[in-house]
């Protein structure tokens, strides 16, 4: 038995008919083009983009691991210590209740952090779109970036003037926001004034999120390169440079945009989602 190698071709065909006044077809014409190479290039590009996104996720996760460990170890210590005291307070209902509340509260702290980590666990390349509250996404991102901010004494300020929702892949959008917040922390931490501000508001038919920091700003010579893959302003070993190009790619897929607002005194990246009929306000 012999097997023939099957080769797949992609063809793009256009056809049209020329008709007379009585709608009788006079001529048929058309083109048929082999677009196999184009399709293969696009498929390869999608795969490379997905791999790059995955690498960026791992890079972000690595950067946050130390901070997350610290944020988990503190409530873990509270649980451990409170549990050990339960026996000591066996005959003291008030103290028992106090320790029980401590354990529950500490457990909730850990749960929030672990829940936030699910953003990095998915490996499927398929997007999962659903309606999500933008402010809720930002709040979850702040939980994950809070440890790094505290470590460098950078204040994270969230100014929310919108309750709008977006239809999005929450995990991918979270990755964009975490990248922008982490970049802001990196810029602010060496300054006397250390803060990162996230402002969420609606403007006309857009939902706008502005990420500003107290850093020294971006050199005007490199502004045009900011969204290029692997471009970085950080020192060797401090960043992968994948962040902004990946962020732009994700936002492009969401039909959203990202740009550096040059008019602002501080570095300010603006992410813009277009409102549509599904952007209902959170009740």
């Amino acid at each position: 038995m012999s097997f023939q190698k099957i080769k797949i071709f992609w063809l793009e065909a256009f056809g049209s008919a020329e008709c007379d006044s009585d709608n009788l077809v006079l001529t048929l014409s058309g083109t048929c083009q082999d677009i196999t190479e184009l399709v293969l290039i696009e498929e390869k590009s999608k795969l490379e983009r997905a791999k790059a996104q995955h690498s960026a996720k791992l890079a972000s996760l690595g950067e946050m691991a130390a901070g997350i460990a610290h944020e988990i170890n503190n409530p873990l210590s509270i649980i451990s210590g409170s549990a050990q005291l339960l026996e000591q307070y066996a005959n003291n209902p008030e103290k028992l209740f106090e320790k029980k509340l401590s354990i529950i509260s500490a457990t909730e702290r850990i749960s929030k952090i672990v829940y936030g980590l699910r953003k990095f666990s998915r490996t499927s390349y398929k997007n999962k779109y659903s309606i999500k509250s933008v402010s809720h996404i930002i709040e979850e991102c702040l939980i994950l970036t809070d440890a790094k901010a505290k470590r460098h004494s950078v204040a994270l300020i969230f100014n929310k003037v919108s309750d709008s929702n977006v239809e999005c892949d929450e995990i991918e959008i979270s990755q964009v926001f975490i990248n922008l917040i982490n970049n802001g922390i990196d810029a602010a931490m060496s300054q006397d004034e250390k803060w990162v501000q996230i402002k969420l508001f609606d403007f006309e038919d857009h939902i706008i999120i502005r990420f500003s920091d107290s850093g020294k700003g971006i050199d005007t010579n490199v502004i045009h390169k900011l969204f290029q893959p692997f471009f970085t302003t950080k020192n060797i070993g401090e960043g992968t440079g994948l962040g902004l190009s990946i962020a732009k790619g994700i936002l492009d897929e969401h039909k959203a945009s990202i740009e550096l607002i040059s008019a602002e005194k501080n570095t300010c990246f603006e992410v813009k989602f277009k409102k549509n009929e599904v952007n209902a306000h959170v009740s």
Partner: protein, 117 residues
């Protein structure tokens, strides 16, 4: 003769727990959430041993240790994954700290106090 211990941690609940778990007739514990308050206290009331949380608000346990009497043994307590820390520390404990670690340490220190008394 009692062992005088100072514990600094920006997490108030951990300070309360440390005091509840290890205070006794032989061990007197003073806890602080504020680094400057701890530094001022230690200057006036030098303890026998100091526990310093690594991650504090606005500073680190390493920075605080530098501002305290270098003759007082210090223990760095950390929830970080980092293994190496600068500074002269008697020990480094990783959170969550085990009761047994602290109890053994206090027993050892009290024994040493009795010997040198």
């Amino acid at each position: 003769m009692s062992l005088k211990v100072v514990y600094l941690d920006d997490e108030p609940e951990l300070c309360t727990l440390f005091e509840e778990m290890f205070s006794s007739g032989n061990v007197i514990i003073k806890t602080f959430v504020d680094a400057n308050a701890a530094i001022d206290y230690v200057r006036i009331n030098p303890p026998d041993i100091i526990f310093l949380d690594y991650r504090l608000r606005q500073t680190t346990g390493v920075q605080v240790a530098i501002k305290m009497d270098n003759l007082i043994p210090k223990i760095l307590v950390t929830g970080d994954l980092t293994e190496e820390f600068s500074g002269d520390f008697f020990k480094v404990f990783h959170k969550p700290i085990l009761n047994t670690q602290i109890n053994e340490l206090f027993t050892q220190l009290i024994q040493q106090q009795k010997i040198t008394a």
